[in-house]
Amino acid sequence: MHAATKQHDFEPKIVAFVCTWCTYAGADLAGTSRMQYPPNVRVLKFPCTGRIDPVFILRAFQKGADGVLVSGCHPGDCHYMAGNFHARRRFAAFRALLDFVGVDLNRLQFSWVSAAEGGKWVDVVTELTERVRTMGPMPEFKELEHEEQWSGAINTPELKEAYDSIG
């Protein structure tokens, strides 16, 4: 018997930046083990978490992500020896910055998922998806995308409508 697929009002967009050696392989393992998790996540593969620039996270939020996951090899397991160690410091700093400007860090998850941890991948993705689902859409960056300085704004209702029809 299949469990009835739950219908939700809000399907969050979750973006995962993962390293190819551990987490991507872990997600593959979840697949070969036929584990189930919410289909909201979109995976972008990197050689190493060391390659992941904070700008990518920012950009993902700007482009509509409601939650972002960054995941790589456990400390000491990095295929490139130290990429994840550098990433760990970089993201510790970046988190502090986002927090300071008022971004809810519950939308940004970091994890170590090894190639053997298909189950952990499922847990991490499910937990983030469900958490973000209860939080609702992330309005902050998306709103900014549509805001203009007053002088460039086309703020009459008709024009706004005309403009939206273009968009």
Binding site: E148, Q149, S151, G152, I154, N155, T156, L159, A162, I166
Partner: protein, 336 residues
């Protein structure tokens, strides 16, 4: 017989204009700075400080969309912004150094290429200028031929009187129409004495002489001496009422995006960077020279006007203390 409007009625006028669904822009406290921003009520009007940015952005926004594009089924679909929908606007409370800027810029915006974005906004706006009774040691409007009571650019010009009310002079038909439409807020009479103007530290400059010197000194040690310290930001240009350079950028992807026009500055190193990698203005002093040349020579050559209103904003804001008035004075006193 001059028209008089009390301070309260001036604010009431704003309230009325807002109700008429006009975009009313005037000096307003925004955070810790005074800026020209849309007023939502007469009480927003703040006349005790010169706004940090000039009022040019009403006609020449910091950033505006020109068009959007999207590739659909192999074909690119382009949508122009409908300029007819630009709002009717009133700029209120601009001193002569701001109100005067459109009078300078109209020339370049309607020259060989007509910038319909600027012109449409110009057509739809009325400028209520106000004589300036403030000023500091950076002000030099008199030095460049303007004055605290210059009416150039204004449709309606207000002169602050000692009793707090304003004497009004409808300079243009637009100004007359504005008064006529709200006649009940104005009264006729001689009014009180005008508030005095502030003395300026920079004496009147001989702009003809300066232009002549510039013509003959494209290469001159002065440029290195005064402009090598320029760090190449765009603060002076962006807050200037007369600077009008812009850049056009496509933002988004090659298949879906928006073309935007936004302020640019000749101080930026990339301003003249060619696609080839060659940059004719390769060092900062050449870029600064262009700023002076454009304002006091090139613009005059083409349009017979000086591209500076003497507002002093660039002097106050320059991170490294470059003082355009001092430079003009230096050139003014040169013998050769």
């Amino acid at each position: 017989m001059p028209q008089i409007i009390t301070e309260q009625n001036l604010r009431n006028l704003i309230d009325l204009l807002v109700k008429e669904a006009k975009l009313v822009v005037g000096p307003k406290l925004s955070g810790s700075v005074v800026l020209y921003e849309p007023l939502t009520a007469g009480s927003d009007l703040t006349l005790d400080a010169l706004p940090r940015r000039s009022s040019k952005e009403l006609f020449f926004p910091i950033c505006e969309d020109i068009l959007s594009y999207k590739r659909e089924n192999g074909a690119m679909k382009v949508n122009d912004v409908d300029r007819s929908k630009f709002p009717e606007a009133v700029l209120i409370g601009a001193p002569p150094c701001d109100a005067g800027s459109p009078a300078i810029l109209d020339a370049v915006m309607s020259w060989d290429y007509k910038d319909e974005f600027y012109l449409e906004r110009r057509r739809k706006s009325t400028i209520v200028g106000i004589a300036c009774t403030k000023g500091d040691d950076a002000c030099f409007c008199r030095a460049v031929g303007l004055a605290p009571d210059a009416e150039a650019g204004s449709d309606l010009f207000l002169t602050p009187l000692k009793d707090g009310s304003y004497a009004c002079n409808a300079v243009t038909e637009k100004g007359q129409a504005l008064v006529a439409a709200h006649q009940n807020l104005f009264s006729e009479g001689a009014g009180a004495e005008p508030k005095p103007f502030v003395d300026q530290a920079v004496a009147k400059l001989d702009l003809v002489k300066i232009k002549k010197w510039l013509e003959e000194h494209f290469e001159d040690p002065l440029w290195e001496k005064i402009a090598d310290i320029c760090v190449g930001c765009g603060a002076c240009a962006f807050i200037c009422p007369a600077c009008h350079c812009f850049d056009i950028n496509d933002e988004g992807s090659t298949d879906d995006g928006v073309r935007r026009k936004h302020w640019d500055a000749c101080g930026f190193a990339k301003f003249t960077n060619h696609a080839s990698g060659h940059n004719p203005r390769d060092v900062q002093n050449k870029r600064y020279r262009n700023r002076i040349m454009h304002k006091f020579k090139y613009y005059d050559d083409k349009f017979g006007k000086t591209l500076c209103t003497g507002c002093g904003r660039c002097i106050r804001a320059c991170p490294v203390g470059i003082d355009i008035a001092e430079i003009l004075e230096t050139i003014n006193t040169k013998q050769d």
